[in-house]
Amino acid sequence: MLESLFFLIVAAVAVISSILVITCKNPINSALSLVMTFFCLATFYVMLDAPFMAAIQVIVYAGAIMVLIVFVIMLLNIRTETGRKTTHAILAGSIIGLFVLFQTCYFLTKGTLTGTKGAMDTALVEKVGHVELIGKALYTDFLLPFEITSLLLLVAIIGAVILSKRKI
């Protein structure tokens, strides 16, 4: 019961802050609302027995990516949106978004969870430790994708440098 209440509060905060992300005129406000949303998600991760993921959610998203975004906003000195109103675009976008929501929820009511149940449960996570579980999976079964990820990041770094250089 207590868990449900907590969940509801966090969910409400997440939804409200996410709505603020898309409604705020000032991008800085949007960015801060998004940070709020990310914190709510991190909370959910803790509730789902994934404390390490919660930690990196805060560190990587809130700490790194969002800082980068805010930096760019400030660097470019972007103010509120100006120019013509695009009500028909807002209307169309909202309708499509609601359709997406409707379809997803419809699917949730119809669908059932299949698949075999794995060995991981709360007890195991508490006994072994979440970081160790993730680490073991990442450095054994998923070693190759993990290494490829580093390549992806390298490419992204080079791309970012080249794109933002004044003269190549």
Partner: protein, 668 residues
Amino acid sequence: MFEYVWLIPLFPLIGVVINGLFGKSIKNEKIIGGIGSLMVFGSFLVACSILFRLLSLPSEERLYELNVFTWIQSGTFKADIGFLIDPLSALMIMVVTGVGFLIHLYSIGYMHGEEGFYRYFTYLNLFTFSMLLLVLGNNLLLMFVGWEGVGLCSYLLIGYYFHKKSAGDAGKKAFVMNRVGDFGFLLGVFTLFWFLGQNYNIWTINFVELSKASHLLPVGGIVTIITLCFFLGATGKSAQIPLYTWLPDAMEGPTPVSALIHAATMVTAGVYMIGRMNFIFIKAPETMLVIACIGAATAIFAATIGTAQNDIKRVLAYSTVSQLGFMFLAMGVGAFAAGVFHLMTHAFFKACLFLGSGSVIHSMHHALHHAHSHDDPQDMRHMGGLKSKMPITFITFLVSTIAIAGIPGFSGFFSKDEILWQAFANPYHGSLNYVLWGIGAVAAGFTAFYMFRLVFMTFFGECRITPKAKDHLHESPFVITLPLMVLGFLAVVGGYVGIPKVIGEVFGGIPNLFEHYLEPVFRISEEFAKEHVQVTAHHSAALEWGLMGTSVLIAVVGISIAYALYIVSPSIPAKFTAAFPGLHRAVYNKWYIDELYDLLFVNPCKALGRFLWKGFDVVIVDGIVNGVAKVTMGFSGVLRHVQSGFVHNYALTMALGMVVIVGFYLFR
């Protein structure tokens, strides 16, 4: 030895590749000409060894087929790249490579300094290759490839001086007229293939298999149609009525080309083709009659035109047409061996005549060039008295002229007389034989007349060239005179391989070697003729002697008239033309046949073309095309607005598409 037959067409092909690809950068005329000539000489050596090998075999075994690979295989249709060696093709490759080599050699001297020297030798080698393919091919389709190839080379070489409009037009004319003939040839192939396959389940175009199946063919009927189609092809290639007018125009090409293609080899392809298919032609008496009549008509018709031409090469061109007419007359009366014999001797003396005229033109051209005169170097009215200036050319030319006129002892006599005798004595055409013989004899008389007119106007009498140019006239270089001497020699002795029977008997029973040699090729026809044709009358040897004497007499009369008109009293021809202006004009203008064709075929075609262009193409075809374009443009003008260029709209559309697809899978 026979298995090396593929080398014969390969050598000229190598020459084509070398000269065609690298000739422009080689530049050195001696190397280019040397390669071209050597390749043909290589083929000639192989051809010689094949001929000797063939002669060493008994006559029944003189047949060899080499299938190199299967070219087309489609259902019941099969065509090989394969070569057939029998006495006929062995003879033809000897003529093609032998005369061809001499003319290649001659060309080195004649074409010296011409622009595009390498191009000339490339075409000439390509021609040799195609011609060898034509005569060696063991099936109709491969023969057709060669047939088309020689047509192409003929076109290319006639239009060799392509900056001259008349040369380009002449090339086009030759090509288009040959197309008409090729159309007939192809129809013949199709019909023959279909007919044999449908009725006897023999699906073949191979000559050996066809000859084995020929006994199944009915006499007349569809075989007449097939053979008429083939004969149409022959008239196109061999310049017979009604498709002969391209050959005189083809003289726009270089003179050695006229000698090789338009006298010695290509134009005889029609004769060769009928000889090759003799077992089918013999089954169509109506076609044989048509061939004989057209041959005789062409012989006399072209001979009359030849009497009034002033261009030295045009006289020879009409002479060629006329002589080809003799060959077809021989084919039409069933004297295949005689026709092929005349083909061979004609190749010798006519090539020699053309090369001789080339030598004269070459010399005239240089002399006129030095004198800065713009007279036509080919016009006989500017020549005269050349015999002392150019002795070798004169002697070889005279010898060949005597040969073509049919004076006993020279090659032309043996072959032409054999044809005339066969025209008289053959068992196929009944009383029409006398007419055929008469026309042939008169045509022979005309031949003697205009050929000696040519000789007298060119080599005898007063030199009519400007005195300044006269000093520059000189004999041609050795590379030109050597082929002349060889061909002149052959023009004399070439006939002795086929001495007629009656003469042979006088000299102790010398057999007609040539006829005997070709006998295996025409055996089927001979047997058919023995079985099915009633020999109406047996002709005595005395009659043959009489006819022979008559034809010689006619030839002598022709020569005498020429002597009287052009040596004794040169004023008579002018008086004669003044007396009969209409006749002279008609003959001089080639009986207005070109104009008639223009009126009947060319102009209607042009009018139809113009109508199709202005009426059909512009209005209907372009209308449809433009209409389609306009409709598309209209639609796209409307649909263009979808492409707003705003990223938002694209994102929206993408999301909408996602929703629709997911919705389709959720709610279906």
